[in-house]
Each structure stands twice: as C-alpha cells, then as structure tokens.
Symmetry: C2
Subunit: 278 residues, 2 copies
DNA sequence: CGTTAGTTTGATGGTCCTCAAGCACTGTGG
DNA sequence: CCACAGTGCTTGAGGACCATCAAACTAACG
C-alpha cells in the first residue's frame, strides 16, 4: 500500500467523538491549577484571538507542546520529497518553506513564525513536497499524528480552531501568488512586510510600529520572486520614500497608511478584532 | 488545510442530521435506475485512480451528485467576499477561480475541470475570498455541507480520498506559485499546458496527444501573470519550435518530451499509475 | 453589416535581471 | 596582530524579458 494512505484518518470517529457539553468543564489530565495568561504559548495566543478557548481546550493545547525540540539555522528540518513523521508547532524563531528547482533557483512559499504549525498537512495526509529550513535557531514542539488526532477528538472546537488557522495560512499562499503574478516589486515588498507585521502582531511580537525580522535580502528575493539586488533597490526606495526601513534585523514602519495604499493591502483576511467562536 | 475537520455547526447537530442508511437507496431527485460503470461521474473516475472504492463508497459518491445545476459562461457563481452556501462538483465544463485587485487586474489562481471540487474549503470553513467564473456553460452538482459531512461520516475512506484530492489541488497552487515566481514565460506556459493535460487525462478527456481546451489567451494571461499579447508570442514560439499547438480550442502536443524538459515538469506529484488504496 | 470577442503582429520602453565590483562586518587560523 | 575567507549589503552599467500602445485581421452573431 502506498505510504500516503497507510494510515487512515478516522473522520467519522472524529466527528462522532462529540461529548456532552458539561464534559468540557472537567479537566481530567492536567495537574495543577489553570494557566495564567503569561504562560500561554504563541499558538495559544494566536488561536485565542479567534476562538474563546475553554480551560480544557487550553490544557489540551498546551499539552501538545510537550516534546520540545531545537533545530539549528540553515539545516533543513525536512527535505523535499522526504515523508514527514511529525508536525511541529514553532515556539520561537523563523522557518521558511520552499521548493527547489532543477536550475538551482528556489522559491520560498511561506514563512513560519512563533505560533505557526509546520508540516500539518504532510503529517495528516502524507502529501507534502517542500523543504523546511530554519532561518535562525528555533525552538519547536514535535506533534505526532496520534497526539493531534487525540487532541482533535477530545476537543473538536480546538480542531476547528487549528484547522481554521491552517486554512488562513493557505489564504496567505494564494495572496502570495496574486502578489507575485500581479504586483510590481514595490507593492510586493510592501505587501509582504505588512502581512508579516500582521502575523507577528497576533502573537505579540510586532505592531504597526515595526518588528524584529531576521530575514536576509536573499530570503526576501526568494520569497518575492525577485533578485537579491533588486530587493535591495526596492528597500532603498521604500526607505527614501519615508515609508518603511528594514535594517539590521528590524523593520520600522514610518508611514503605515501609505504603505497599505501602495500595497493594496487588505488586512481583513488576517485581522480579526475578537473571538469569532463563542 | 483540512476543512473537513471543522464544523462551525455544532457536532451534536451534525450527528442529528444523520439519516438511516437505507435512505441512501432512495433516489428522490434523479430518475433512472442504479448506475452502471460507464455512467460514473468524472469525480468517481478521478478518485478511482487513487483509491479502489467499494460498492457502498461508490454509491455514496454518486449520491452526492443528486442536485444538478447549470451555470452560464461568464457569470460569476460566487463573488469575492460572499460567503458560500454550497460546494459544487463540476461534471462538465471549465471554471476558473480568481482574485480581483483594486487596479482592475486579475489573477487566476486555479482552474477546475470535470471531476473537480469547487468551494470545498469555503463551505466547510467559511473562509474563502475568491470568485468563481464558469469559462463555458457548465454542469455541476450542488453539495450541501450536511450532505458532505454525512457522506464523510459514513465512509471515512471516501473522505480521505476526497481530502487527498483537495490536498493535491493545493499542491498545484503551490506549484503555480513557484512557476510564476521562478520560471520564464515559455517554461511557465509549457508547465501549465502539461499540468492541465495530466489533470484531464485523469478524468479521461485528455492524453499525451492533446486535449480540448476552451480557454482564451486572456485566461492564460491572467493565470500565468503575463499580458495577453505576450501569451500570444509565447504560444507562437512553442508552436514554431514544434512542441505544442494551441488553436481553435484544442491543445496538441507535438514533442511531449521536449516540453517536459523546458518546463522542468515533474509529473510525479500528479501521476499515479493505479489505485493506491486496496 | 456593424459589433464584439478573440487572435496576431509591430514598435517602443520600463521593470527587473545579470554581471561586476566595492564595502562592512565576523570569524578563523597562522 | 593580520591575512583571509565568508556572509550580507550596496551601487553601477548593460541588456533581456515582458508590458504597453497601436492597429489589423478573423469569426461569430444579431
């Protein structure tokens, strides 16, 4: 049997695993009191912006962070073609997922930052074909397929939240495609920097003022479909235009409004002002 | 990613929506007896290439095709921003999904052909923000969220197959992104035509010889991130190079091998020689 | 028979790539 | 301490690729 299908995802079980509502009020597994807000992981923080999570859901979510792992910058975590054994929840650092072409050029498809899942699809469906490279040294929690399915069947609402976040990531890939296809270099860069800012703000490490960003101009080039040299010129233009500065690992917005304008940035698909699920 | 896990509808409600199994044997809307193999829908045909489906699974699958709908070419089925009420399984014709930008340009994200799902994510997760436009008059089956969830809970293997197909579509979007970012116009066009060929072959309306294709050069332009004029020139080059002809709604491959070469086309991620699930 | 949609070709120019080179900074080893 | 290499940023010059403008052509259609 093909590896892709070697393990079935028990959808029916998942769906039928609904439990009485009051069960949700019991917390059987976690010892100790409820968590304080400060202890929450970035993922928890991100999901809390969309869904008001219960105590149990919070506990299950935090328990997914058990198996901590570190990866060194620059060494691929997963290589193109290799089938993934586990997914990861990134707790700190930056990762890029990319595809390599025969002629040596690469296209970065997406970046992952704190609170993002990595390899979710590949672990659930065994279909993934890009590489993951940590941009800096990272900390991540390894999540086995069984952990995930277990968590999903315990707390379906949490499942919804996680899948919703994953779906949002895909919307960003589409937006990325549109950007590369139909925006010029300036707008593309502006859009990219704004989107990153929004994502980081969700996990509390960015704002409309700016954020720390360890990416090199080569990363930007590979992500935006430009040459590194042109990236440099574009950044200069944006800087001299008084809109945004990207220097020494830090992005500073000087004129957020105008940047939004030239990027035609629509934050609606990322921004949510409050929990959507009650 | 997997829309399917997610129900915004409470799980309890979902379960209550289940109907007795023998209901499946009744055909309220479509007249006529049970299906013979030759009558199988394109979707069935496509999935059968990946998974050997049981009688019951086939029946459930065909059952999803109850509510037949027609849509006229050129009139959006779903408009950007509007939340979808239903998903569709395309049984004949072509559809494109695209995003419009403020400056009027559009980027086609993907095409759907016979056997493809349309709006799967948007109906399950309520997150979709592109428009769907039939390229020609089409026939489709409307699939309500409840139908889908019901089918999934009955036949989990079928659910896996459908999600796998959806995941494959997403892989194509990623490949599309790579193409726009890192391939020149010739390679982009070659890759696009080859990919379409592979997809159509799966549902039996295309081969390595060629296929019918109702797309205009404007469609190609919007999909590939080029101007229509340049599309025309690229097509001429490929034609004069003796590789492929695209004329009067028909694509004819003259030198498949060389086309694969200049496109750096890797059919592995689409091609499957036989059923994977036994 | 004019209109519209789609295709084709030419001319011109802008965006962005490539090649080339210099600079700043860091770490390494003699 | 200094030579050296490596990484990343910066700037210039020339040219390829592709967009834009303009216009002719075909086919379909009322």
């Amino acid at each position: 049997m093909h590896p892709l299908f070697s393990q079935q995802v028990p959808y029916a079980e998942l769906i039928q695993s609904s439990v009485p509502a009051d069960f949700l009020l019991l917390d059987r597994d976690t010892p100790g009191g409820p968590m304080t807000s400060a202890e929450h992981s970035p993922l928890t923080r991100k999901l809390s912006a969309f869904v008001a999570l219960s105590e149990v859901e919070l506990a299950v979510l935090e328990r997914l962070h058990q198996r901590r792992r570190s990866f060194a910058a620059g060494r691929d975590m997963v290589h193109q073609g290799q089938s993934a054994q586990a997914a990861y929840i990134l707790s700190s650092g930056w990762v890029c997922s990319y595809k390599l072409q025969a002629d040596g050029t690469r296209q970065i498809v997406d970046f992952q930052v704190a609170g993002d899942f990595l390899g979710l699809r590949s672990v659930l469906l065994r279909t993934s074909d890009h590489s993951f490279e940590p941009v800096v040294d990272i900390e991540a929690a390894e999540v086995l397929k069984s952990d995930l399915l277990d968590a999903f069947s315990r707390t379906p609402r949490l499942a919804t939240a996680i899948l919703w976040a994953a779906s949002r990531d895909e919307a960003m890939v589409v937006e990325h495609l549109v950007g590369i296809g139909r925006r010029d270099a300036d707008a593309r860069m502006a859009h990219f920097l704004l989107e990153l800012g929004s994502r980081l703000a969700l996990v509390g490490i960015g704002s409309k003022e700016g954020y720390d960003c360890p990416l090199t101009q080569y990363h930007l080039a590979d992500a935006l479909g430009l040459s590194a040299i042109h990236v440099n010129r574009v950044l200069r233009q944006l800087r001299e235009g008084g809109m945004v500065t990207f220097r020494e690992g830090h992005v500073t917005f000087h004129d957020y409004g105008r940047l939004v304008e030239i990027a035609e940035f629509d934050p609606a698909y990322l921004d949510q002002t409050g929990p959507l699920l009650k």
